[in-house]
Every structure is written in structure tokens, then in C-alpha cells.
Symmetry: C2
Subunit: 220 residues, 2 copies
DNA sequence: CATGGCCTGTGCCATTGTGAACAGATCCCT
DNA sequence: AGGGATCTGTTCACAATGGCACAGGCCATG
């Protein structure tokens, strides 16, 4: 999270290491890889946003993470995963650095800075996923939705009295929170009625999150 | 997961690096660190088993992970966590290697093997926690309990037709699964009635898990 | 302009889960 | 032996959630 991390440039390290690097551009909603694909590379987000999701046997979808610039994903292949256990798709136009699995392990040895960056990423993602798990274990879907909205708002911009979540369907929200759309709808209207959030029917303009929404999460 | 990982000896690397290492022995149920403590070191399990849990505001407990030999924990401090966000306690007599935070980062640079091992650990734990999260998002508490039992059985011994879960209270199971004890009890008896598991009132002798329990998890 | 696709708003009911209480069994300690 | 602590077995009323169906608005497309 320090400045050294922020100024890291994975591209430069791959260049200097003389590796076959590959940069791919994705459009909004374009698939990056799908559940079941062969897992042969680690990806690094240079620009944009990426959604990681998983499909259940019954066709339900769950969103496991929303990632942004300087995040890695697809690292499961380093732990012996032959196939991708989930899907990744761009949520905004994105440019992604693709690093072949065997080259990644080599670079992790040769480039201390990339190694550091990668470890930092893994540790903090671990923390984040653990928090998501705890959230599921402890909280009701109402609080989980409130938390998801607050996190999404921070994801957009910082330090504004009233933050805005770009544009996201209730369907996607339900997949992130782990509940149904009708339930999300119910709570969204409740939050709106209580003044915690503001938006109009069409969510294209985004959702305005008021800091008072925090009370939902904090309340016992 | 390969042999190189199995044969890794963190102790040796810390010795050769000339670091102030510390080995601590814990008894069964003894606390290793508590939620809110200052987070200044990473731990490495040499022998035994460790439970990671979190307390909610309301006093409820959730078990986030059960770890064994060659697992790291407490690594959150590497991502800037000043305080422990959960508690760790020994579930069997354990010996734990304590590595100060700043020394850990140094060793990660100097000792390639430890760096490899640590990265492998982080990646596979990430995968595991992600699966726990997905489990929560998709499955009912009945399936989650079945899955938890199957994982615990593998944790004990491998490749036996009938595996045994050491000894664990229904209370702890409910904390792992994220539900209430009465619910766990209900399903345990159901599983017993259907021949998926076997045990007698006193769980001291452990729970025998039959492979047929898998059908619970697999069934739509 | 008509149609279909996609999204939100809403109501309803069966299912699942919670929380709390109480009984019985076992074990430990005095 | 008695008391207390701990754990499982069981029940019950009530709250939370899931699943589903349908209406209405908006929009792109032909």
C-alpha cells in the first residue's frame, strides 16, 4: 500500500527480463477467461477493472472480487490449478498484462521488486477475501449489501462526502452479496426511503451513497 | 504442493540468515494471539494444528481456517495491518516459529526458497478461502456442514475408505459452517440416520465419515 | 410504430435458519 | 456422593430468506 507499491511498473520488469510479454486490451463486458479454461498465465491489470465470478452447477453466478489497476488475478495456476475455477471479465475497457505461468515463477526469482509487489498483493487480497468470508458468516444480507455498496463507492472515488457507485445492476449486486435480486431490490428501496442512498429508477446515472449508510453496517 | 515444498525447512533458512528466530510451544486450546493484539510477526507451523477465528461485535465466533504443519499465518501484518483482525489458538499441541515482521520481509528477499514457499502458501490459501467464500455464497448450511466434515476428514488422514475427524464439538462445527449449533445437531443426526457418518453420543472418539457423504455436497 | 430485451418495483408463500430453553449423559473435582 | 461444567439431543415460535410470477418503464432495432 506504500508509495513504492504504487509506483511499481510490472511492464518494465518484464521488459528488462526479456520475457515474452503480452498486452491485451478488453472492452467493457468482454470475457478475459472462462471457468474451465486451461490455466496457464497470471494476469496483471494495467488499466481498467475486472470482475471475477464463479458459476454454480445450477447456473447461479457469484461475484468473488472486483479488481482494479495494479491487481493480479489468475494466480491460481501457480498453486497447481490446471483449469480456471472461475471466470474473469472486464467491467470497463481494460488493458491487461498476460504473464505465462512458467515465466512468472522465473521473474519472481529474478525481479525482487515484482516479487515484493506480488506478495503484497497476495497478502492484502487474502485479507480482503477473508473479510468477505467473515462478512458472510456474520452478517445478514441487508448488512452485506450495505457493505458492498460502501466498498464499491470507495472503489470509485475517495474522500467525497457523497460517493457514487458508477453503474451496476441489482442483478450484479445480488451476485456480489450472495442473495437474490428481489432481496436486493427490497433493501435498496429501504435504504432509499431512509435516505442512505439516492438514485432514480434507471441506475445508469449511478447510485449516490451517503455516509449515513455506514449506520446499517455498524448497527447491531 | 510438490515435493520441493514438502521438504522445505523454514528453520534452516532462518538459521542460515542469522535472524533472531523464536520457537514457541503451545498446548491444546492455548491462545497464540488474540484479536486486537499488535501484529508484529508472521508465524509458521512446524508441528500441530492451529485454528483461526474472528469474534463479531455481538460475541459470536466464526472459524476462518484450520491450519497444519508448513502453513503460515498472521501474515496480515505484511500488508500493513497494525492489529490482528482475528485470533489464533492451538487445536493440538503445536510448535510454532515466530518471525518478526521486518525480518520476514528481509528473509523473503534473501532466501529464494522461503520466498517460493511463502508465495505458494499464499496462493493456495487464497484459493482455499475463495472456495470457502463460494461455498457460503452458493450452498445451504446442510451442504456446508457436509463439506466441512469432508475437508476435516482429509485433514486427518488420507486415502482411507472411512476417514475420521479427530474430535470436534458441534459448537465448533457451527462456527466453521456459519450457523447455529441446533442446526448442526439436526443435520448430524440426519447424516447419521442416512448412514453418511457414524459416531456415538460422546464425540471424543471422533466422527467416522463415509464417502457417501459426498452425495450431500454433489446433489443439486 | 411495434416488438422484444433488459431492468426495476412488488407481492406472496414455502423453506430455511435463529435463538432460547430444557433434559439427559458424562466427566472432573472436592 | 454431590455439584458443576460441558456437551449432545430435541423442540418450538418467530424471523429471514429464497423463488417465482407479473407489471411497468426504457431503449434499441427492424
Amino acid at each position: 500500500m506504500g508509495k513504492s507499491v504504487r509506483s511499481f511498473n510490472a511492464q518494465a520488469f518484464l521488459d528488462s527480463a526479456g520475457l515474452s510479454k503480452k498486452i491485451v486490451e478488453y472492452q467493457r463486458d468482454e470475457s478475459i477467461f472462462s471457468q474451465g479454461d486451461a490455466a496457464e498465465s497470471v494476469m496483471y491489470i494495467q488499466k481498467g477493472g475486472v470482475k471475477l465470478s464463479v458459476l454454480s452447477k445450477t447456473g447461479r453466478e457469484a461475484v468473488v472480487a472486483m479488481l482494479g489497476p495494479a491487481d493480479f488475478f489468475g494466480e491460481g495456476c501457480l498453486a497447481g490449478q490446471a483449469l480456471r475455477i472461475g471466470s474473469a471479465s472486464a467491467i470497463t475497457p481494460s488493458t491487461v498484462l498476460v504473464i505465462a505461468k512458467n515465466q512468472m515463477t522465473k521473474v519472481l526469482h529474478e525481479q525482487r521488486a515484482l516479487s515484493d509487489r506480488f506478495i503484497a498483493h497476495m497478502v492484502s487480497r487474502n485479507v480482503r477475501i477473508e473479510q468477505d468470508l467473515i462478512d458472510q458468516l456474520f452478517n445478514s444480507s441487508e448488512k452485506r449489501l450495505a457493505r458492498a455498496l460502501l466498498l464499491l463507492a470507495r472503489y470509485g472515488k475517495q474522500d467525497k462526502p457523497k460517493q457514487v457507485v458508477p453503474k451496476i445492476s441489482q442483478e450484479t449486486l445480488s451476485e456480489m452479496v450472495g442473495t437474490t435480486r428481489s432481496r436486493v431490490n427490497f433493501f435498496m428501496n429501504k435504504f432509499k426511503r431512509l435516505g442512505f442512498i439516492e438514485y432514480d429508477g434507471n441506475l445508469d446515472a449511478g447510485i449516490q451513497i451517503n455516509s449515513s449508510l455506514l449506520s446499517v453496517v455498524l448497527h447491531d
